[in-house]
Each structure stands twice: as structure tokens, then as C-alpha cells.
């Protein structure tokens, strides 16, 4: 349901070969346009045929492999490399502006989703303009027709930054402006909104030309509105732009850049999260020890080498082998990690409740029938005690190996 509806007109327009009097269409572009190669049932069938037999026999399990290959190939980068043809939009009827976070000069996946949303709003006639603070790579392939690189603000000064963005946006006069509803993007959007005196539609989960939808009242209702000037887009709600790369033609910035005025912020410094000490509930990657682990020193070394946050099952905490605050589970900490690496944990129901929110689970356990093995995306039936030293060795080898190459 999240897939934007197909717009045959737009698709057709996107494959039109530019700069010719008679409309010509490049139909080869269509494949990449939908983001996936077309299936060839004949070829698939032929691929399944077991060789060297007079009577045709087919190994139907081969299909799985074929599909898997399709999925891995469908990375946006691969698609970009395959078709260098750049789409040019000369005279957009209107602009949809996007102000991405672009941490470190790179678009985040959330930024690309916002560009995808902007593309949906721009439709056939509109153009997508991106405003970046400082340099940014890959804005064209992500779907930007125009690009306004603004000067980055020195240090942490969100107010000045917002003033600059607001000035540039006022000069640009786009029909819609989209921000990512992230920590920084959400902050910037609100600052720009109050500066421009315009209402802001926040956290849109559906972005389409006929309306934006956001959750409200504690996700008990959703509100739909016709797209206004300012909106923020929720993460992981709208698909990225999947079409051919766009021009990203630089636009001159006509607005004068407000200078940094406020001296009220004395200093600002980033304190990166230390995986060893970050609260378990916030950790991104948790490696956890259970009853199957007896050598906790090695476990701690593995955790440090993986740059993971240490966790433990209740049994180890009860026994005093691991500190109580590392306990994962219903009575300990409920995780929101991206990955949970369970070493020697069978997975009691209360423990599984604690990892229910983890996106990926990797489990090492001797018991094939353990619940944790069932839950894991990668499950290894092996003694965790034996796997840990092997992991350590491999990590050390890798570090040394790459050290030699670069030296």
C-alpha cells in the first residue's frame, strides 16, 4: 500500500527523448524505470532444467535462487550505473523544494525518501529542487531537478541556518516544501515555518498530489490535508525515487544570506555514543550472552571487537556474572536495536519479549530447537564458546590484513 500509484503519463514523459521536435520515446529505459528487470519465464524455465537428461526434468528449487538474485541486483546504485541517461526538465511548471539533513554531505535514506515524496508531488510537470547546506553528493540520482547549494553555517547555530533556508526558500517560491521529520530536519522545518509564518503539516506518512496523511491523537486518527506549503515526511513511509537520474541543475542563490548573529550559544560539541556504555534501550547493536557462555572475558572481548553494546540473559544477571543493567527481556530492558546477536541464549518467552523490537537477530546456540534459533535471521547451531574465539581471531586477522594492504 505504500507504493505510489503508477502514473502512466509521467512514465511516458520520463522516457521521452529530449530535444526532438517529434516525440520519441526510449522504451529501453522502461526496465530501469520500474526498478526491476522484467521476468523471463522461458529463461527461468530453461535455467531450471536439469542438464544431461533426455527427458526434460526441472529442478523447481532453482526459482528461489533466481528471485534472490533479482532482489540483490535491484540496488539503486546498480540501476544508476546501468543507465547513465540523465533526465532533463527544462521548464518546470512549478517547484517542490526539499531540504534534506544530508549528514556529512551524503543523503540519508530518509532524505532520499523525502525526494521520492517530492517527486510524487511534482508529478509530470513539476520539478524537484533540493536545498543543501554545504556540498552534497548524489542529489541528481536521488531525483532532484534543481539544486541550490547554500553556504553551511559554522558550528551549531540552527537559528541562523533556518534564517538562511527561509530566505532562500522565499526567493525560490516553490509550491511545496518538504523536510524529513528527523531530529535535525524536524527542528529546521519548525524554525522555517515560524519564520515564514506558514502552517506546517508534520510527519506525513502518505504524500500524494491529492493529499497528505499524518497520524494524530496518539495514532488513533489520521488527518488528511491537501498539500500545503510546508510539510515534514515521516521516516520509512514513502518510497525513494526509483527512476533514472535527474539533472540537478545548480540554481544561483539570489537571496542574501543572513549572517550569523546570535552569540548565545557558547559552545557545542558532539559526544558520540560509546557502545560500551550507551543505555541498552538506545543501543543500535547488542551482543548478548546467555547460559551457554562460561568464558565471559572472551565474550567481553568479542563485544568490544564488534563495537556492540553488551547484554545478558536473566540467568547470568541473577548469578551476578553480568551487571543487572545489562539484562535483556521483559523484566530487564526492552531493546530497540537494529541487530541483536545472541550467544548461547535459548530464548525464554520473557527474553524474546525484550528483543521483539529488534530488526535483525543473529543467534548461536547448541540447541536446534531453541526459540532464539527460530527467531533468528542467521541461526548457527554450534557451541557459542567455540565460535567466540573464532570470531575474535577473524576480526584480528581482518584488522591486520587491511593494515598490510594500506601500508
Amino acid at each position: 500500500m505504500t507504493r505510489p500509484r503508477r502514473d502512466p503519463r509521467a512514465e511516458r514523459a520520463s522516457i521521452q527523448v529530449a530535444g526532438e521536435a517529434r516525440p520519441r520515446f526510449d522504451r529501453t529505459a522502461r526496465r530501469t524505470g520500474s526498478g526491476r528487470p522484467r521476468r523471463d519465464p522461458r529463461a527461468e524455465r530453461a535455467g531450471q532444467r536439469v542438464a544431461a537428461e533426455a527427458r526434460p526434468r526441472y529442478d523447481l528449487s532453482q526459482t528461489v535462487r533466481f528471485d534472490a538474485a533479482v532482489i540483490t541486483e535491484a540496488q539503486p546504485k546498480a540501476a544508476a550505473a546501468a543507465s547513465p541517461k540523465i533526465l532533463v526538465l527544462d521548464d518546470p511548471a512549478f517547484l517542490v523544494a526539499v531540504v534534506p539533513d544530508a549528514p556529512g554531505g551524503r543523503l540519508s535514506s530518509h532524505d532520499r525518501q523525502v525526494l521520492g515524496a517530492a517527486r510524487a508531488l511534482a508529478g509530470r510537470e513539476g520539478g524537484v529542487a533540493i536545498l543543501t547546506l554545504g556540498a552534497c553528493e548524489g542529489v541528481g540520482p536521488a531525483g532532484a531537478d534543481r539544486w541550490l547549494p547554500l553556504d553551511a553555517v559554522e558550528g551549531y547555530d540552527p537559528a541562523t541556518q533556518a534564517a538562511r533556508v527561509a530566505a532562500a526558500l522565499t526567493a525560490l517560491a516553490p509550491r511545496h516544501i518538504l523536510f524529513p521529520e528527523s531530529l535535525d530536519g524536524g527542528d529546521l522545518a519548525r524554525r522555517v515555518a515560524v519564520r515564514m509564518g506558514e502552517p506546517l503539516f508534520t510527519n506525513a506518512e502518505v504524500v500524494a498530489a491529492n493529499g497528505l496523511v499524518r497520524p494524530a491523537k496518539g495514532r488513533r486518527v489520521e488527518q488528511r490535508i491537501a498539500p500545503g506549503l510546508l510539510s515534514t515526511v515521516a521516516p520509512d513511509a514513502v518510497a525513494e525515487y526509483g527512476g533514472p537520474p535527474r539533472e540537478a541543475r545548480p540554481l544561483p542563490v539570489e537571496a542574501e544570506a543572513p549572517t550569523q548573529g546570535s552569540k548565545r550559544i557558547v559552545s557545542a560539541a558532539r559526544v558520540p555514543a560509546d557502545p560500551a556504555t550507551v543505555p541498552l534501550a538506545l543501543a543500535e547493536f547488542v551482543a548478548s550472552a546467555g547460559n551457554g557462555i562460561t568464558d565471559l572475558d572472551t565474550f567481553r572481548q568479542v563485544v568490544a571487537a564488534l563495537r556492540a553494546t553488551p547484554g545478558a540473559s536473566r540467568v547470568l544477571c541473577d548469578a551476578g556474572l553480568m551487571p543487572r543493567h545489562t539484562q535483556v527481556g521483559a523484566s530487564g530492558t526492552v531493546l530497540a536495536a537494529t541487530c541483536y546477536f545472541a550467544l548461547g541464549i535459548s530464548g525464554a518467552p520473557q527474553h524474546l519479549q525484550g528483543v521483539a523490537g529488534c530488526e535483525h537477530v543473529v543467534a548461536v546456540n547448541t540447541d536446534l530447537h531453541a526459540a532464539m534459533i527460530e527467531r533468528a535471521g542467521l541461526a548457527i547451531v554450534q557451541d557459542a564458546q567455540a565460535v567466540m574465539p573464532a570470531l575474535l581471531k577473524l576480526l584480528v586477522q581482518e584488522a591486520q590484513g587491511t593494515g598490510d594492504e594500506t601500508a
Partner: protein, 632 residues
Amino acid sequence: MTSLMPLTTVFPGLVWLMAALALVQGLRRAALWRVGAAAPVAWLDGLVKLPKRYLVDVHHVVARDPYASRMHAVVAGGLLAASILTALAILPPIAGFRPYWFVVALAFGVTAVGSLLVGARRYPAKQKRLSAGRFQILPFLLVAYAVGGTATALLLAFGIGGVFAPLALALAAAGGLGLAFEVRHGPMRHAAAGALHLVAHPRPGRFEGRPDTALQPLDLDAPRLGSEMPADFTWNRLLSYDACVSCGRCEIACPAFAAGQPLNPKRLIQDLVAGLSPAEPAYAGNPYPGGRPAQGERGALAGLIGPDARIHPDTLWSCTTCRACVEECPMMIEHVDAVVSLRRHQTLERGALPEKAVGPVTELRQSGDPGGRPLSARTDFAAGVDLPVMADRQQAEVLLWLGEGAYDLRYGRSLRALIRLLREAGVDFAVLGAEERDTGDLARRLGDEATFQALARENIATLQNYRFERIVTADPHALHALRNEYPAMGGRYTVIHHTAFLLELIRAGKLNPVRLPDLSVTYHDPCYLARYNGETEAPRAVLDAIGVSRSEMARSGKRAMCCGGGGGAPVSDIPGERRIPDIRMAQAAETGAGIVAVACPSCTAMLEGVTGRTSEIRDIAELLLQAVEAGR
């Protein structure tokens, strides 16, 4: 001495002097009770019933330790008899009657034997559960008084005077006056306070043969909520703590103590006693596990709870409110009431709930469920099962109260089994569905009386809309709240536990289970069913009806050990050396039974959570359903 006054007058005079000293010492102590709050006491009724309460109810508990029972009967009986007989001899006609002194000597002799029994418990080495301290000199005082008394009485009986008489009398005086002196701070306080406690007991219902276990509602408009200092307790509660004999039966029964959590009920009561007066001698029993020296101010107005006060908050939150200590206490002390009263102050006045309990209690207050789950999700366990809802029916014979267990994946299985049994038996029942809120049990045990009362009012208002004859529930905690605690809030219902209801259905022939003799089962009594409500027979009768081979754990029935799931202990989660459910499952494993039968969602969850257990956890409804289905 005899020349000034005859021995026949001096000896009874000694006893009168002892009585006077005891009275003075007792009154000095009693002055401290007067700082407590007022409490309604049915004095006359209590006095009339004192002998029965002592001889029946107290004896029932004391007799669980046959040695202690015999010891106490001999020494207390002898002491009382000998002292009263001697005191009566102040009347000259009696004093002059020589055979009378033989009887007195006999009484003193019995006391002497009893004194030796008392001493044997403490020397050469005292039993582990007993406290040392002043109790260690009790045998010597008793022996001195008894032997001195015997000798004096014999001298009088035989009419011998001379040098022996002053010696014997001096011995008796030393022992006797020592005993009387000890009424204020020493071992003999238990006799005075204990007797008065039986008269002015805060829960007289206990002696009427019905379980008087409901927590007393708190007036939320009172100037101060709960107990912060000794003066916040009612005077008869302060009196009851003085009755403590430091026998340590409670600490043996306490699951938190066994698990190495920082709670020792004896120490807790003794801290309440010691908190009352700076003059109280030092505690000499087993400490709170994880030992922490007593500190902080003492006195009627000194705070009792705090990291730097006499009682650490963790001690308070370790209690599972299982009442095992109350059940074992020969002095009829109500430990759980004390714990809840102290918790009430912590929660209501200071907002000092244990960190992990804040979430569940907040959700309970804001959304009517400790997990913050939608009330409509309570019936999700019954997806695909036809579950009649009261809102559609308006009336039903039986209202099935689902309780918090309904949200639990594992317990949903038990409830589905129960629902299928009700269908099988053709019972006209319905549930409240999304209208059912938590009974407030968790909030109340954790001291949040305000939330409990709010939830109780809402539930009572909901129940008022429907017509039903009885409430059946599989959750003993809900049963206790609805049956025993809602009446004080204005809701009176006939509430019956599912095991009792299933037994009824079997006996009425509506359920026809076959026998499953291959199953070996041991039944774990839920505290809130067995101890709080005295129901131990129905679950066992159901098990016997399906013919399983049933064995009993060493601790069962009203003396069963808690699973650790009550009183908010799982959400407070105070660390200990072991876990209570692990201990309980080890006890179950000793029976060799393959199945541990349970009858409570908390027990199910706690015992299921034991890692490396060898036996299955099955609700009685699940076992009965298996037997019924096997018969088809």
C-alpha cells in the same frame, strides 16, 4: 528476715512485688503505644474471647512446632500456676495450710522442667532462627525463679526454716524480679503485649474462622497517607509488634528471605519495635540478607524508611504480600499490613515507587492496564472462540472475570481451556470484554491506594449495569479484590474461583472427565487462594476427580510457598541471590511429579519462567479439559 516477717508472707509478697514491677514496666512501655493513632477496639468482646483465641488460634500455630508447643505449655502454664498459687498465699489461712505448699512446689517444679526445655533450645547452641540478645538470659531467670520457688515452697511445706530459706528465697527473687523487669524491653514483654494484642487485635475476624485478609481502605482525605514513622501506626498495631517473640518462624517461611532479597519479616517487625524507642536493646537475630547495619534516628516521630533510615526501601519492595509470615506467626502479628501501610506512604506521599514499578503503576492509573494495552485487546486470546460479551447480553448466570492474565500468551491457553469447559458444561456465561479494567490489585499492593480506589469505583459502576448471579475468575488476585476488598468500596458480589466452579460442575455431572492415572501431578497453592481465602480443597478435589496420581510438596495448602509473583514483586524486581520461582520449582521437583498444577496466572507466568525446569506447568482447567476430551 524471717524474724521480722514470716516466710509465708514474704514469699507471696515477692510475687506481688513481681506483679507490681511487671505492671510498672509494662505501663512504661504502654506509654509508647499511646503515640499511635486511635483505633476502634471491641474491648469487652476481646476480653471474653481471649482464652479461646489463645488456646485455640494461637495454639493451632504454635503446635506446628511440637517441641515449642510442649515447652511453652509447661513453662508458661507452670509459671502462671505457681505464681498465682503463691500470690494467693498472702491470705493467712492458705499460707498456714502446709499441703498447699506441696501443690505450689509441684507447680514450680513443672516450671523448672519447662525452663530447662527453654534452655535446651538456646544452649549449648541456639537454634538458627531464634534471636539471641535478651532472650538468651531468659532460661537462667526462669530456672532461678522456678528452682528458688520450688525450694522455698518445699521448705514451707516441710516447715523447715533456717539458713536455707533466705537462700532459696533470694534465688527466687532474683529470677522472679528479673522476669518482671524484662516486661519492658526483654523477653517477658511478649506475654503482656501478646495477651493484650489478642484482646485488641486489629483483625478480630481472624479468630472467627473466616479469612480476614482484605487490606483496610485508606481515607484519601486524611492529613497524612500511610505510615512514615511509628506514630503513624494505630496504637494496637504498635502493641502487636511488641508481642513479637523473635522466634523466626516468619523468616523461615518468607520467600524473599529465602531468595536472599533484603527482607526478613522478623527483622522488619523488630525494626518497627526498635524505631519506637531509643532505649530498645540491639537486635540479635538474622539480618536482612545482603546485610546492612541498622542506622538512622529512633523515636516515635523518626522516619522509618529511606536509604539512610532504619528500613531500606528495598526491604519494603521485596515483599510479595504472600502472608506466609502472618500464617506462621504464633503472636498473630500482621506483617503484610505493616508493609502495605509503609508502602502507602512511600507511594502516595513521596512518589518513591521502585524505579521499575513506576511504568506499570502509571499505566494502570492512566489506562486501566499495567501494560498500557488497549482494554479491548483483553479478549484477543479468544480469537476464534465464541465469547459472549455482557454489553450484548445484559445478563448471564456467570460473569467470567478474565483478569490481567488474559493478555499473556501462555495464560491465554488456560483461559481458552476454561472457556471450552464452560461451553461443554452448558454454563450461561459472559465476559465484560473491553469494559473490564484491572481490579487494581497491583496498585493497591504497591501502596497506590488512590489508583486502586479509582479502578474499583469504575469496575463497580460497570458491574452495576449488568445482571449476573456469580463472578467466576481464574485469577486469585482478582478474586481476592472482588470478593474481599470491593465490599468496602461498595461492591458486593459472590465470587468463586474457577477450580471451585469446575468442581461444582463435575459434582453436578455436567462435566464427565475420565481418569488420567498416568499423569503425576503436584499442586502449587496460590497464596491469594490458599492463604488469603482458605481455599485449598477444591483444586485438589478436581485433580482427584480426574484421577491423576497426586503428590504434595513439603510446603502446601495454607503453608505453601509463594511463586514470587504477588504484591508487585515482579515489577519492583528487587535483586536477590536467587529467584523465588526457582526455589519453588526445586521444591516441586523433589516430589518427582511431571506436572506442576497451577491455578493462578501469576504462578503460571513465574513458574513457566524458570529455566531448566523438568516439569510442565499446567493450569487445573487445562488438565480437566484434557480429561474431559479424552472421554469423548
